[in-house]
């Protein structure tokens, strides 16, 4: 069953149903009996009711089809293979599927495999034909009933409005459910990790040395603090760079720049935001790191080329447009009347900005700052390349460090065994990161909302 064909068929059914509803309702409209809703609404209503049951059938098949075919394969495989279980059974099922699809498999095809494959092919053919037939039957029946409902007094418009509202609700539900799914998977995997390592050792441990999964589950130390410290230090340096520059850029753009200058400068700053972070990463690695190191040597300070300082500075540059753009919007929301009031009292422009504009916009700027911090905490690529990947507790920013994000990358690249704490720790780290940014975002949103209320 080709999914393109199905999509085309669905479209055809859709337009047929719409046309039916439209023309039927038009025929009903007589000079005496005005239609409650315009024919387009009747058409839409019939189309929706016709297509919905078919979509439900396809949806059910998409959800349960795979497990149904798996059950079918298990029934067709010899008992001794089913009993082995684990990876061997998994690969046997894969091979049967590959044979059934005609894709072919590596190695000799066993007779029982060929038989199961053939059976599966027939099963799939029948199943898809059944699904298609069922969908068509449901569509036909519901088309019939939807057509019968058409009457001059049918409130098709109200019903369509209601259905559209449910559709939109369902769409926003997708985003919420996805978030929920991610959180749940993080929580469950992290819980598995905590069966290996106690939460106290994880959250308060000062040594990070997970070893390798081959060395066994018991070995290794999983102390979060060195990573958290690295994250905080890099984010702190980044904000130290980004906040003054970004804020002053925003003040210039919103208060001083002439419209023509603004129309050129603002997009150019926003280009910074469009640069992929990996590009920032090798900019840090190749250019900024060595330059900082050379500069450090010239003033007698030992700065390593890959260090918290390098990563922090480059991350700060990356965040500048984020802060300047958000703050610019917030500063421009300060009412003109307020600025006029200050200027009318004889305040200069900078006095006005310092004493009226910034205090009025402060909550919004704090909100922007917190959003930027949560971005800095979650940033990965720059730190992977430029922070030196050295998970030790160090106070000197000129030394290499490692962060939570970098460690997640390290633990999840290469050969994986998702039953070992070495891999599972990534979920615990991810959960930590998620909770941190969640709180920062919530704080930021709360502050920004309070700021909005002031002028409305």
């Amino acid at each position: 069953m080709n999914s393109w064909m199905v999509a085309l068929l669905l479209l055809a059914v859709l337009s047929l149903a719409y046309q039916q509803g439209w023309s039927l309702s038009r025929r009903l409209a007589t000079p005496e009996g005005r239609l409650h809703s315009r024919p387009a609404y009747h058409g839409s209503l019939v189309a929706i009711w016709t297509i919905a049951p078919a979509l439900v059938i396809f949806g059910l098949w998409a959800l349960f089809g795979t497990s149904a075919s798996r059950a079918f394969i298990l029934a067709n495989l010899p008992a001794e293979i089913v009993d082995t279980g684990g990876a061997a059974l998994q690969s046997a099922i894969q091979r049967v599927r590959a044979i059934a699809s005609g894709f072919g498999v590596a190695g000799e095809v066993q007779p029982y495999e060929a038989a199961a494959g053939e059976a599966l092919r027939r099963f799939q053919l029948i199943a898809s034909a059944t699904v298609l037939a069922a969908a068509a039957a449901f569509a036909g029946v519901s088309l019939y009933f939807a057509r019968r409902r058409i009457a001059t007094r049918l409130r098709a418009r109200n019903e369509v409005e209601r259905l559209v509202r449910y559709l939109l609700l369902a769409c926003s539900g997708v985003a919420i459910l996805t978030t929920l799914g991610i959180v749940l998977s993080l929580v469950f995997e992290a819980a598995r990790f905590f069966t290996f390592v106690s939460p106290i050792d994880f959250f308060f441990g000062t040594v990070w040395n997970p070893r390798f999964s081959t060395t066994g589950a018991g070995s290794g130390q999983y102390g979060l603090l060195p990573l958290l410290w690295g994250t905080v230090m890099v984010a702190g340096i980044a904000m130290f760079v980004a906040l003054p520059i970004g804020l002053m850029t925003a003040i210039y753009l919103s208060q001083y720049a002439k419209p023509r200058v603004r129309s050129i400068v603002k997009p150019m700053i926003e280009i910074l935001a469009g640069i992929p972070t990996i590009v920032y990463g090798f900019f840090a690695l190749v250019t900024v790191g060595p330059a900082l190191s050379a500069f450090g040597a010239s003033i007698g300070v030992d700065i390593r080329a890959t260090s918290a300082l390098t990563a922090g500075i480059v991350m700060g540059i990356m965040i500048i447009p984020f802060i300047s753009s958000l703050s610019d919007d917030i500063l421009r929301q300060v009412p003109r009347a307020m600025i006029d009031g200050s200027i009318g009292l004889g305040a200069t422009q900078s006095e006005t900005i310092k004493r009226v504009v910034l205090p009025a916009a402060l909550p919004g700027i704090v909100g922007a700052f917190l959003l930027a911090v949560s971005r800095a905490i979650g940033e990965t690529m720059i730190v992977v390349l430029a922070a030196g990947n050295s998970p030790f507790l160090r106070a000197n920013p000129g030394e290499p460090i490692s962060t939570v994000t970098v460690t997640i990358v390290n633990q999840l690249t290469g050969d994986q065994d998702f039953a070992s704490p070495q891999s599972l720790v990534a979920f615990a780290l991810g959960l930590t990161l998620f909770v941190m940014t969640l709180f920062l975002n919530m704080a930021a949103l709360y502050i920004v909302r309070r700021f909005r209320e002031q002028y409305e």
Binding site: G344, L345, G346
Partner: protein, 283 residues
């Protein structure tokens, strides 16, 4: 030039309340000194000319009202007097505007000092999102008018008293100014303007966002302030112009049509357009 020189006689004004019977004010031939003089003022917004050769004198310690239909240029003219138009992109002012004989548009003049001398009250009350005290203290602070806290408090209290607001807010000076009612906010803005001891106060439709009772209070206040300040007010309400001003200038399509004693403008204007406007036939 004939003027109503009632302004010189301050004692009488204090008791007369907001509804001054203009027709009965005694006329004196003594012309008051002009505080602000404007000669041949032309204002352009980009290519568009908003004011054409406007000549007006603002007499000392009295109220002059600028009236006219919307878009006639009266607010634009008012904003020329303390150079608030400088903040508008593409606005160009030509002509001669003098404050006490000093050219306001002289490049050498300090705009900050000018605006301290020529205060402004806006159409919509625009208190800063600060406390009532801080709102009034704002101007004295930036101009360094108080050397210590006691002096500052004194200035704030005096200004609030002059703006007839002190009694209403004396128990909550440190609460936000934005929490006051519209009329109180506008009086707070007047107090804020008074706090820097200006000589001239410009008011751009100060009552247009207020209810009649708040309006009456502001009008009463304007009448009291006339004793010490030179006031120019833009208003859409002809009754208000008649009640608070001694002289009235009528603007139409960027032209100053007629300027003279308020009673003359409202009872026996020279120009047909003024006649039509004040009798409500257009605008």
């Amino acid at each position: 030039m004939t003027n109503i020189a009632k302004s010189e006689n301050t004692d009488m004004n204090m008791s007369s309340g907001p509804f001054v019977d203009v027709a009965n004010t005694p006329k004196q031939q003594r012309a008051p000194k002009a505080r602000v003089t404007a000669q041949n003022v032309n204002v352009f917004y980009g290519q568009k000319q908003a004011l054409f050769d406007v000549c007006v004198d603002v007499p000392d310690r009295s109220v002059i009202a600028f009236i006219g239909p919307s878009g006639c240029g009266k607010s634009t003219f008012l904003r020329c007097l303390n150079r608030m138009n400088d903040t508008i992109e593409g606005c160009r002012v030509e002509g001669d505007i003098k404050l006490d004989g000093q050219d306001v548009y002289d490049p050498k003049i300090d705009v900050v000092e000018l605006r301290a001398r020529v205060g402004m009250v806006f159409q919509k009350p625009n208190p800063f999102p600060k406390s009532i005290f801080e709102n009034v203290a704002y101007g004295p602070k930036i101009h360094g008018l108080a050397t210590n806290k006691t002096e500052l408090e004194e200035i704030v209290v005096t200004s609030l008293r002059k703006a007839s607001l002190f009694e209403e807010v004396k128990d909550r000076l440190h609460e936000p100014g934005t929490g006051l009612s519209g009329g109180q906010q506008q009086r707070l803005c007047i107090a804020r303007a008074i706090a820097v001891s200006p000589e001239v106060i410009l008011m751009d439709e100060p009552c247009s966002a207020l209810d009649p009772i708040a309006t009456a209070k502001i009008e009463e206040l304007i009448d009291e302030l006339r004793a010490n300040y030179t006031i120019a007010i833009v208003t859409h309400s002809m009754q208000q112009a008649a009640r608070v001003s001694q002289r009235t200038a009528f603007f139409h399509l960027g032209l100053l049509v007629e300027e003279g004693p308020t009673e003359t403008i409202f009872t026996a204007p020279n120009d047909k357009r003024t006649q039509d406007y004040v009798t409500g036939r257009f605008g």
